[in-house]
């Protein structure tokens, strides 16, 4: 499946967008490490959905708009993005920071959404559970922390750095800090409004997630009592990468 590769301008902000497939739209919102490449899970999803993978404002090849100051700005941006592209019946899938953005969107407006898939989401603090401090970890440590299977981490670290990839890494880290430094990776007010999410919710977590430990999942289960929960064995923070087939199966189910 060949993904188209281009830019779309919303609110004066150019975002880099990859898109492929036919069917109802599926918007994938990436996490703090960005979405620099088309990955196998995207291609598999494109057999069932019209898959859209943007790089968020402030990430990758997308613009860094001055108005982007917090996660709420990002949520409003993507609600406008859905409207701008005329997307309806959207399956909204968010990994980590992207899961946080997805929840912030859904508490505001679900009229264009058909369901929500949260993949090791950030956004909510759980009592007694500490996320890894990604800002004190070196980029290498972050990559190692993302995976259960360290061969995958080694493979990712073996990709040679280029001046462009270094710039993108620093840009992504900057935007993540801007949105999530304090309160760290969550919005303390978000849990008050989760009842507004009136579409089906699926939650997917890697049992060996070292960034946002799977202990978060039981807290989410309380907050989303009707949600379907998928806990993957031998899996770290990126179930869509590490367990692509099971992930696609869970999304499509």
């Amino acid at each position: 499946m060949k993904f188209s590769d281009g830019f779309v301008e919303v609110l004066g902000c150019k975002v880099h967008l990859r898109r492929a497939g036919k069917g109802n739209p599926l918007l994938f919102l990436h996490g703090a490490s960005g979405a620099p490449a088309v990955l196998p899970f995207m291609e598999k999803l494109a057999e069932r959905f019209d898959v859209l993978v943007p790089e968020h404002p402030g990430y990758g090849q997308s613009d860094e708009p001055a108005w982007l100051e917090n996660i709420h700005d990002m949520a409003y941006f993507y609600l406008d993005f859905l409207k701008h592209l005329g997307l309806k019946e959207v399956t909204l899938v968010g990994s980590s920071m992207g899961g946080w953005i997805a929840m912030e969107m859904a508490v505001r407006d679900t009229s264009r959404l058909s369901s929500l898939v949260l993949v090791g989401p950030a956004g909510i603090a759980a009592p007694g559970v500490k996320p890894a401090d990604i800002f004190l970890m070196s980029p290498e440590e972050v990559v190692k922390g993302l995976f259960f299977d360290q061969k995958l981490a080694a493979a990712r670290l073996a990709i040679p750095e280029t001046p462009e990839s270094i710039d993108v890494g620093l840009k992504n880290r900057h935007t993540t800090a801007r949105l999530a430094w304090e309160p760290r990776l969550h919005d303390p007010f978000l849990p008050k409004w989760l009842h507004r999410i009136d579409v089906p919710v699926k939650i997917i977590w890697g049992k060996q997630d070292k960034i946002l430990p799977a202990a978060f999942a039981s807290h989410y289960q309380k907050l989303f009592p009707k949600a379907e929960m998928f806990l993957f064995d031998d899996c770290g923070h990126l179930p869509h990468v590490e367990k692509a087939e099971k992930f696609v199966e869970a999304v499509c189910r």
């Binding site: 970890m137 710039d167 620093l170 840009k171 304090e182 760290r184």
Partner: protein, 379 residues
Amino acid sequence: MQIILFHLMPYAEVDIDAARKHGTVWGLPNKHYDPQVAHRLYNRFLDELEYGEELGFDGISVNEHHQTAYGMMPSPIVTASALARRTKKVKIAILGSALPLRTHPMMVAEEHAMIDVISGGRLISGFVRGIGAEYHTFGVNPTISHDRFHEAHDLIVRAWTEKGPFSFEGHHYRVNYVNLWPQPMQKPHPPIWIPSQGSKETIDWAAHPDRRYTYLQTFSPSKVVARYLKMYRDTCQGFGYTAKDSQLGWSIPIYVGKTDDAARREAKVHFENFRNVFVRMPLEMLLPPGYTSRDSLKNVMKAKAQMFGDVTIEQAIELGLFVCGSPQTVLSIFKNHWNEMRFGNLLVSCQFGTLPGDLTRKNMELFAREVMPGLKALN
């Protein structure tokens, strides 16, 4: 030249092995902190600064650091207040208050003004952003550090100089009634100094004709100091005026001994502890995202091996990161640098790292009696 005695007030009796093992004294678990030890150290260090007045220094200086053995002054206001009452003539320099870390800049405006009034107009007011590590420990978002710094500065200077009440509408700070009691004694306000590790953005801002703040290059190799002081002067020329020497300063640790050999021998372990234990921290801690521009961050990443490795006292002297030797040697080094850079202010740390009280006093005395007169005469 104006000479100021600067003190970091480190937790000098820190368990060096534990600090080495932890990798940094920034965020070293506070089980390593003993209030009895700190009690002795605080009082020793305050005595040393007060002794600076007796020895004829033009000023004495303190600064702000958090959650670290590097410096025990989370509030330089506390130490500056104590010094304001115990001294009569010297200037008291707070270099500086970390504006973005403070919840409200009004508090900084008030506290600095109090010290200026209590001391009879002897305050030098320094503003800094705080070290990168402090954005981790304090939780303040480093990507808005510059914004908060500039806005806090604007509010403080307006609070010092404008008749109140007036309202301040900022992006980060909003106050309906700004009406400061007390107003500073010095008019229009205490001198403002900007300590920096070197940045073009800081220099552009400090040198602006509306401000003309004293730019202070801290703990850098002498070549780097020369480069940034020249950049400051050139920037002033670009703004259409010539910088006064009093707008330039250099802050550096020094050690004066009877002979060059004696000085190196006495200072070696204490300086190396300072440079290789107290100053050290990982890159991610030193430069959180947004604390510097991404271009500066990339330059640091390139120089990483050099910046984050150990430095011996001999290398530090060679680099001009540390001035150490007999009185004649120290005087001639500073004279040479002054001839090149014409800095009007020299800040010397006579205590650094683990340097104990007897050596600190010996250092201060030799410097004050045998080096300082020659430096003060430079004009």
